[in-house]
Amino acid sequence: MEKDIKKVVVLGSGALKIGEAGEFDYSGSQALKALREEGIETVLINPNIATIQTSDNIADKIYFLPVTPFFVEKVIKKEKPDGVLLSFGGQTALNCGIALHKQNIFSDNNVRVLGTPIQAIIDTEDRDNFVRKLDEINVKVPRSIAVTSIEAAVEAAETLGFPIIIRSAYSLGGLGSGFCSNNEELYSLGSKAFSYSDQILVEESLKGWKEVEYEVVRDKYDNCITVCNMENFDPLGIHTGESIVVAPSQTLNNSEYHKLRKLSIDIIRHIGIIGECNIQFALDPYSEDYRVIEVNARLSRSSALASKATGYPLAFVAAKLGLGFGLHQLKNSVTKTTTACFEPALDYIVCKIPRWDLNKFWGVSKEIGSSMKSVGEVMAIGRTFEEAIQKGLRMIGQGMHGFVGNRDIENIIIEKELEAPTDMRIFAIAMAFYKGYTIDQIWELTKIDKWFLDKLKRIFDLQEALSKYSTLEDVSDDMLLSAKKMGFSDFQIGRCVFKSDSDFITEDVIRVRKYRKSRGIVPSVKQIDTLAAEYPAQTNYLYLTYNGTEHDLSYEEDGNSVVVLGSGAYRIGSSVEFDWCGVNALNAINKAKYRSVMINYNPETVSTDYDICDRLYFDELTFERVMDIIDLETPKGVIVSTGGQIPNNLAMRLHEQDVTILGTSPQSIDNAENRHKFSSMLDALKIDQPRWRELTTIDDIYSFVEDVGFPVLIRPSYVLSGSAMNVVSNREELEHFLDLAVKVSKQYPVVVSEFIEHAKEIEMDAVAKDGEIFAYAISEHVEYAGVHSGDATMLFPPQKVYVETTRRIKIISREIAKSLSISGPFNIQFLAKDNDIKVIECNLRASRSFPFVSKVLKTNFIEIATNIMLGEPVEKPSKSLFELDYVGVKAPQFSFARLQKADPILGVDMSSTGEVGCIGDNYYEGVLKSMLSVGYTIPEKSVLISAGPTRTKTELVNSARLLIEKGYDVYTTAGTHDFFKLNGIETIKLHWPDENKKPNTLDFIKSKQVNLVVNIPKNLTKNELDQDYQIRRSAIDFNIPLITNARLASAFLYAVSKLSNEDISIKSWDEY
């Protein structure tokens, strides 16, 4: 190891976004752990406050600051580190590092880039360098021409011949990439790609080739290993983040596997990486011809997946190699006896499946292709492909029960879906089998290797065979066991045999469970040990399979296990914040000397790191699987309140099977979840709430709306994060919505609520013990109610809330806590207008903002909650939010750039993919830091304002004045222009996109003559949204920051007018 490295700066990846998500919390945390082990002082820069890496005892110092050259330089100057790690924070950290290197910031400050030399990184990122480097060792890349203008792109396409693919250099997850079959498509996609990068590549298309990835590691002694290879289920053309992926590869023979492996090693050597890299290959399905598609000289989503797939901690090892260790000098962290210089042998197959949330966006294209749209992923482990993929399809959590046995998918044209896949592609294959398509026909349309299709067909065939029976007793044990070996759930078997088409066949599921247990058909628990049983594992990284006859471990049955249910796939509405909650619950369990047990299946998380608990079950969070595990663990109890909505929804069903739920009773959870029960409780407590009704006929809806008046909020009951929720502002909208989007019946009731405008939204995050509040945090939204709480900018402690309001919120919360006898974490959302307070929601579980308030208050709410749930002695924290002399600001991160055509507008349904939390000395500094952290920039010289209705126009008048005083050019659309003029503010008028007159807003956006766009829609009606859509969408497409909420715009513009970058304090968490 290098002895002169004493202090190291690690760059994080910021907020979770599409293409850069929780995997970098995992890799950063591992790197920090590796550095700490060597006694190195660590400094982390990452504004993502909900992560594990930004928690106590992971890094020595944490800066919640934007990962941009400006701020990183400031931190370097202040901290004077000896080294920096750039490859653990995704593309964000890498790009930032390259920029700092080009400005000589590292060399001027005597900071060494540890691990891969920066030139090697540049060689992999710059396409020209990359091609030249690989050419030097005769490694093939797709024929490709780098161009810097659209005209040159057209010329290049002529040389190569259509179809071609274009990519932009230096971008995350294939942003601005796509296939073009003609000049027209090239023009449209090309100009967009140029908005992200000065250079784009025009390449030969390899559609239909297999896509295979290798994770490669090299140390300073030139020792190289490939830790894992992975094969995409979908052929090339679908981004690896959008494809189902299996590890190890399944259709490659030894010669192909090792040819690509050798190429990987030749490449990593020639480029000179020290640490880890990911290499993507295209492989001809009819020969051993190949192309190297991409080299990522950093930890990536794939490397996180590979770490979880194999048990080999890539990020941890890469960090050690960066410090100068050799692979052979490190130990295998699973066996603890053998060396880390080896290649894992798997004795199972893993299957990764992406999770999309495209339904949450207005207008988004659902086709999947060469750029990434998925927001999360799951990894399923099995000992057959059928078992793994069926598990995985349940894990993605979109109401599917596996490959078969699902409800009919409506509005699908099978042939079209197979040829031009969307997020439903795998289910379209199932439907094709139902319609009698052959494997060959499906292959013709999809080019998915027939090996995969054949396996899927076997699942389908078994389903057909099972469906011939109508009682379980008639099904042979052999067939039942075969079904379980192929990953059929009790639900699927129940549906095949009992033929119920309801989604709620709880009774059937229990019947199947009882019957199969009586026949001795139960799963086995197996360890992931990196060496396929050749050496014993010292860790308990586990999965369940029916393809086995014995458990790898024996159970104590001492009642000392505490099971924590994880949060599943990252999705909009549930992501890294629940991982933080889960991990902190495990930490508390470990401290209390219980056996900590985690169930989760998200490879991007820290909670699925086998080091974090005594036993990690990397498996499903279904009722069936959780019960299988509980049967074995016979735990003291189960914690359902730290993993978001998935475990919360299981509480009652587990309780009915006599499972001990720790903390708040399942009955109380149900009383809070069930609208009717909760509402009557509030009425009894005389606590106000917006008027609402659950209605089952259209007539009832109209008459209710007549009572409460527009706007109203309409939603189906019991759905997480309000999918399909909608606000309607007038009768026409209501009719439209009821006609097209909603089924109204006794079985599908609709909940209609009064929607209160211009009200403040206030949140209470708290922990109670036996109904008495132990710790609490009240925070305030910058935006008025109507913006989903996950999309809102949050202030803690509240800055502009009446003392009377806070007092009343505390009283109400106490009454609710007492009435529900809460023991554990909970969250209540309030509306406040003047001092009129209404409760809108109450969740008896940790909320999204728990890590944020815990870190700002420096009081770990989850630790307190867990100790309460365990019955450990706890003391009331002494600190109160009223004592803080700083302010925490949590801001949402949106990923609209990746979601082609989606309208970047905020509504009652959540659309942000991540968040940051920063601490400021005052409100405006906090707002500025947090907004800079999610990609906003201080506008250079001009701002476009289209200010919406009169109320928001009024709100923005002052902002416009301040901007002009500060010397900004302020452009406005017609109405805003006139309004501002009446108020004595001269702005420059631009015409609406549809006016076809110059000067036009669109031209100004496209030519980047404005540096910020503020566009406030008057309301959420379709007409209004359509009108401004072009302004908003082009702002996104041309990479210009956009704000669509007046209160947020006003806060940001005020901050921008008052402060510059230089005014922002560079203070670490512990300095507040």
Partner: protein, 359 residues
């Protein structure tokens, strides 16, 4: 649903596993060993070093890419390591009944049936492997109903004699003449020589090598207990008295060691995998290697003049030796790979360079 014939695997310690048959239906006995490689079943099955063994694949999904075409190159089957299957039976977890590969012409099941080798699937191969890991390699038998067989210990027989060529065969017409003592050589060793301007003179294990003119002597891999190959050991003793380059792989290492006066022993459960790390002595270079052996050379018994060349980083076993002054060296692992990683193929170049120096 199709049903498959039940078949059981019985170990000498009494443990019994039940599975289903997908290969040839005949009861067999042998030594049960496991291989943790994730690819390369056509290569493994035709590796003569597996002679007499019932092979467990720890990777559960087998048969995915079928069995390659029988194309010939240099008088050798291009995609196999010998001209037939050498294992006595194959034990797996999940068989892929339909294969998919451009280079395949038949299924694994059909190939096993054609060569009269039993195949058994639907076995908890991990549980089975753990027994072998804990108790050591042991005898076992595959039993079809009503057809019992006796346990059989292949290590008590001269297996090398069964797999070695019966007559001298000459391959290629290269600059360097190498006499290859065939103890059960894998085709890829011959290919590696042919790619390097070598004429390969392949001779039986007990052949009088001194009747041949050669620039270098090579001793191949092969099955079983090395001490069975007394004739080869004696010939080697004589060869090691000379100065011509000598290179041994796998069993070749053990035979060179025995000829030099060192001793061999049986490993608990051997090394059969594609991921064995070996450190080159005196350096920080660690290589990932392909291996298949049940016996090893005891480093402690090395005689003066000999030193360890490579050592296994996981269990410190001998992975190769070299002579401190003469051009003799060996590897316990397989630099020719097939299957497995090809990182150490340069050892063949080293051997050529030694011959070049002497020319």
């Amino acid at each position: 649903m199709k049903t498959y014939k039940k078949v059981s695997l019985v170990l000498e310690n009494g443990a019994t596993f039940t599975g289903k048959s997908f290969g040839y239906e005949k009861s067999v006995a042998g030594e049960v060993v496991f291989n943790t490689a994730m690819t390369g079943y056509p290569e493994s099955l035709t590796d003569p070093s597996y002679k007499g063994q019932l092979l467990i694949a720890t990777y559960p999904l087998i048969g995915n890419y079928g069995v390659p075409i029988k194309e010939m190159e240099h008088d050798l089957l291009k995609f196999f390591e010998s001209d037939r299957i050498h294992i006595s039976a194959l034990i797996i977890s999940d068989y892929s009944f339909n294969y998919s590969h451009w280079n395949a012409e038949t299924s694994l099941a059909q190939w096993l049936i054609d060569q009269e080798i039993p195949g058994i699937f639907d076995v908890d191969t991990r549980a089975l492997t753990k027994i072998i890991r804990e108790k050591g390699a042991m005898l076992g038998k595959i039993l079809f109903e009503g057809e019992d067989v006796e346990y059989y210990d292949p290590n008590l027989e001269n297996l090398v004699d069964q797999v070695s060529t019966k007559k001298k065969i000459v391959y290629g017409d290269g600059k360097y003449k190498v006499v290859l003592i065939d103890c059960g050589v894998k085709n890829n060793i011959i290919r590696c020589f042919l790619d390097r301007d070598v004429t390969v003179i392949r001779v039986p294990w007990d052949y009088d090598i001194f009747t041949e003119e050669y620039d270098g002597l090579f001793i191949s891999n092969g099955p079983g207990n090395p001490k069975m190959c007394d004739v080869t050991i004696n010939n080697l003793k004589k060869a090691l008295e000379g100065d011509k380059p000598v290179f041994g792989i796998c069993l070749g290492t053990q035979l060179m060691g025995l000829a030099s006066g060192a001793d061999t022993y049986k490993l608990k459960y051997g090394h059969r995998s594609h991921n064995q790390p070996v450190l080159m002595e005196g350096t920080d270079r660690c290589y990932i290697t392909s291996q298949n052996h049940g016996y090893a050379l005891d480093t402690k018994t090395l005689q003066p003049g000999w030193e360890p060349y490579f050592t296994n980083v996981n269990d410190d076993t001998c992975e190769g030796i070299r002579h401190s002054s003469k051009p003799f060296f060996s590897s316990q692992f397989h630099p020719e790979a097939s299957g497995g990683p090809v990182d150490t193929e340069a050892l063949f170049d080293d051997f050529i360079n030694l011959m070049k120096k002497q020319k």
